[in-house]
């Protein structure tokens, strides 16, 4: 059978080209890989190689022809043993027609949020009479890791100063003593490298907990968090999993300057394939970090340095695991919903106290998980209060607050009596000076002002 040579596509975008020159003539012998023609595209002159061994039987498009469409028959080769004169120059197929999709269905309506969770998901009931213990957030995080490491030998902790130094912020205190250096591993200062190493270990089925001394340093490693950890499952059609936790302090601490103070919640929340958690208190830190370690997906777990030393009541249970993707109504109220997460929940609660003194009843929702985002809980609250303020220590543009506002506009527009208002940090790199830093971050007063505004109160 004759071998058909068609006008090749030589770049992802090429649709037609100029057949500049034939380097063979009819009757020539060619071997697979021989250059037979030159084609000019909009970008370059490219060589066309023969796709098979044979004799050039017919040249159908003369050199110098412009705008030859990709897929058009340009020459025919006779195969070994075939008579050149017998070769039929008529194309056996017109042009390349892409195979239709399995289903010629209409394009589906695009879903804006794929990773949603069911509203039915709820925190596990804490049995009555359960002993409550006071734990710092730091201790709660440590306990979460230790409990999961005791249960599963595949869980290990890796990062800078996590072992012998006992953690730069002492979050991994005691882990080295209990689990040894094979499972609690000090790394060199190599964020890009150990984030990638962790992701590779997770491909192999281990469950790494990678600590960044702060998420500001994870900027060095963000390629592995996104391109390697978050996307591989999808790119492999589900063949390769990456059960890994990236954790560490996030956001501003106290007067550590612009490069150590950024909140990355909205950055990671933008990425399908990741789960993003940012707890406020100790119980949630414990229950959600355990859930993150148990989760088969890559999880970004954003802590806050200023919260590490804060104490909260934590239920004394053998295995306290909270659902990822479920917001928590921290305080019920009727007049305005204040949505927040991480350290700013504390400011929101302070604001709610003060607002109550002025006769405004605020409901405070802690998102806890940023992706998947539990917008249902927020909507349900807004249906009751008809007003919403979203408070977030972080820059305003493309923030988590922006996204909550947009979703409320799309899904709860008819329930709103005032525009959803964002309360974010000031849109500047965080300054060092005490007064400037205070002015830049979100305070309870900022939230109170916004809450009063949406309530049209003085």
């Amino acid at each position: 059978m004759a071998i058909e040579i068609t006008m090749p596509a030589l770049s992802p975008t090429m649709e037609k080209g100029t057949l500049a020159k034939w380097l063979v003539k009819e009757g020539d012998n060619v071997e697979s890989g021989d250059v037979i023609a030159e084609i000019e595209t909009d970008k370059a002159t490219m060589e066309v190689e023969s796709i098979d061994d044979g004799v050039v039987a017919k040249i159908l498009v003369p050199e110098g022809t412009d705008d030859v469409p990709v897929g058009q028959l340009i020459a025919v080769l006779a195969e070994e043993g075939e008579d050149v004169a017998d070769v039929d120059a008529a194309p056996s197929h017109a042009a390349v027609v892409p195979t239709p999709a399995q289903e010629e269905a209409e394009v589906p309506v695009k879903e804006t949020a794929v990773s949603v969770v069911s509203v039915a998901v709820a925190d596990p009931a804490v049995p009555e009479g359960t002993n409550m213990v006071k734990l710092t957030v730091r201790e709660a995080l440590r306990d979460a890791m230790a409990e999961e490491m005791r249960k599963d030998g595949d869980v290990f902790v890796m990062g800078e100063e996590v072992a012998e130094y006992q953690g730069a912020y002492k979050v991994t205190q005691g882990l080295l003593d209990e689990f040894g250096p094979e499972r609690v591993i000090d790394t060199p200062i190599t964020e890009h490298g150990f984030a990638g190493l962790g992701a590779g270990a997770a491909f192999a089925g281990l469950k790494p907990v990678i600590e960044f001394m702060t998420f500001n340093f994870a900027m060095q490693a963000i390629d592995h968090i996104i391109n390697s950890a978050a996307k591989t499952r999808y790119m492999s059609g589900g063949l390769v999993q990456c059960p890994i936790v990236f954790r560490g302090p996030n956001g501003a601490a106290s007067r550590v300057g612009a490069q150590h103070s950024q909140n990355y919640a909205s950055w990671y929340a933008n990425v399908p394939g990741l789960k993003v958690i940012a707890p406020y208190d100790a119980a949630d830190s414990k229950g959600l970090l355990k859930a993150a370690i148990l989760d088969p997906n890559p999880v970004v777990f954003l802590e806050n340095e200023l919260m590490y030393g804060e104490s909260f009541e934590v239920p004394e249970l053998d295995d306290y695991v909270l659902p990822i993707g479920k917001a928590r109504i921290f305080r019920e109220g009727a007049d305005v919903t204040i949505v927040s997460y991480s350290i700013t929940v504390g400011e929101a609660l302070k604001a709610a106290d003060k607002l109550a003194e002025e006769g405004i009843s605020a409901e405070v929702i802690d998102l806890r998980t940023i992706r998947p985002l539990d917008i249902e809980t927020v909507i349900e609250s807004v249906k009751k209060t008809n007003r919403c303020v979203v408070a977030e220590e972080g820059w305003p543009q493309c923030s988590v607050a922006s996204d909550v506002s947009a979703q409320l506009m799309e899904q709860a527009f008819d329930w709103l009596d005032a525009p959803v208002t964002r309360v974010n940090s000031v849109d500047v790199p965080l300054p060092y000076a005490n007064n400037l830093e205070k002015a830049a971050v979100v305070s309870a007063d900022d939230i109170i002002r916004a809450a009063k505004a949406v309530c049209y109160a003085e």
């Binding site: 897929g71 999709a101 589906p108 992701a199 790119m235």
Partner: protein, 343 residues
């Protein structure tokens, strides 16, 4: 920065190259197997190039033609449980790992029968059952990931090794050295295969590298390295056997620099104007990996021309079947858009 008119630096002599490099003592059957595998990869890639030209394959498509001896020599030295990872020029690695050529070609055409069910494409193929972990598009990323795969082998107290392939271009990425450092301080069983095909897209090693003897790049990490003629499958295999033994014996990482050459452009849309046709032709004519092994088979009278022709036919049939499958197989169902994002 000013560029000198001549970009060629004086090439330093290969300091560590042994005068008579070891050759793997292959049995007759193994020689034929190497020949068949290399030929399958080449014919597969030629077909892929052709199908790209026909518009059946989209996006970027990086062909492995010319480098076949590297992957065949390396892969045949591995055992079950060993892991392999590489960059985006990985069709040959999939085939050498034993993946079904039909699934590889159908991934290239973006069909439901592709190894990633059409969601990965040319650069993102995986076969973890055969120890192959991709298929990564960010230059150098596979080096850290592959070091992590080797970390897992050690963590689990196996004697398995991890192989991380990367090119001469990736050899200049920072994370490669972060990985070297960790691999050495933790003695990880990882073999770094530098496929030095001498051009990082259009930039030659001489223009991009202060130390062009890439096997020496591990010296400041105390990682042994060796330069190998990557066009000779028997030298590749012999060097790999040594590296594998070094790793399985618990001695930590090893670097093999494979001096190889790609005949085609960096990707299908690369006119390759940065090198002369004569240079390419010389490599093809004098150093071709498949021709070398073919001569050996004929000289040793293991097979005659007719016997080799039979193999050619068999390989051609496998490739033709893959090409047909890849065109007839339907595109993924639209519902696939939303699956495999999360477990």
């Amino acid at each position: 920065m000013t560029t000198k008119k001549s970009t060629k630096k004086t090439t330093a002599p290969a300091r560590r190259r042994t005068k008579q490099p070891a050759q793997y003592n292959a049995s007759n059957d193994e020689l034929v197997e190497f020949y068949e595998q290399m030929l399958l990869i080449r014919r597969f890639e030629e077909k892929a190039g052709q199908m790209y030209g026909m518009g059946l394959i989209g996006g970027f498509c990086h062909l492995y033609i010319g480098q076949e001896a590297v992957v065949v020599g390396i892969q045949t030295a591995l055992k079950d449980g060993d892991s392999v990872i590489t960059g985006y020029r990985e069709h040959g690695h999939m085939i050498a790992a034993g993946s079904d050529p039909k699934a590889v070609m159908a991934e290239l055409t973006g069909r439901s029968g592709g190894c990633s069910r059409g969601k990965g494409g040319s650069m993102h193929m995986f076969d973890p059952e055969r120890g192959f972990y991709g298929g990564h598009g960010i230059v150098g990323a596979q080096v850290s990931l592959g070091t992590g795969l080797a970390f897992a082998a050690k963590y689990r107290k196996t004697d398995n090794v991890g192989v991380a392939y990367f090119g001469d271009g990736a050899a200049n990425q920072g994370q490669v050295y972060e990985s070297f450092n960790m691999a050495r301080i933790w003695n990880l069983p990882v073999i770094y295969i530098i496929e030095n095909n001498q051009y990082a897209m259009g930039t030659s090693v001489n223009r991009s590298s202060s130390e062009i003897e890439l096997h020496r790049r591990g010296e400041s990490f105390r990682i042994p390295g060796k330069q190998v003629d990557g066009m000779n499958v028997l030298e590749v295999r012999a060097a790999m056997d040594e590296a594998v033994k070094h790793c399985r014996d618990g001695n930590g990482p090893f670097i093999l620099e494979m001096k190889t050459y790609r005949y085609r452009g960096h990707s299908m849309s690369d006119p390759a104007k940065y090198r002369s046709k004569e240079e390419v032709q010389k490599m093809r004519a004098e150093h071709d990996a498949i021709d070398q092994i073919k001569e050996r088979i004929l000289d040793a009278k293991i097979l005659d021309e007719a016997g080799l022709k039979e193999i050619d036919k068999k390989v051609k049939a496998v490739v033709a079947e893959a090409a047909t499958f890849a065109q007839e197989c339907p595109e993924p169902a639209l519902s696939e858009l939303y699956t495999d994002v999360l477990a």
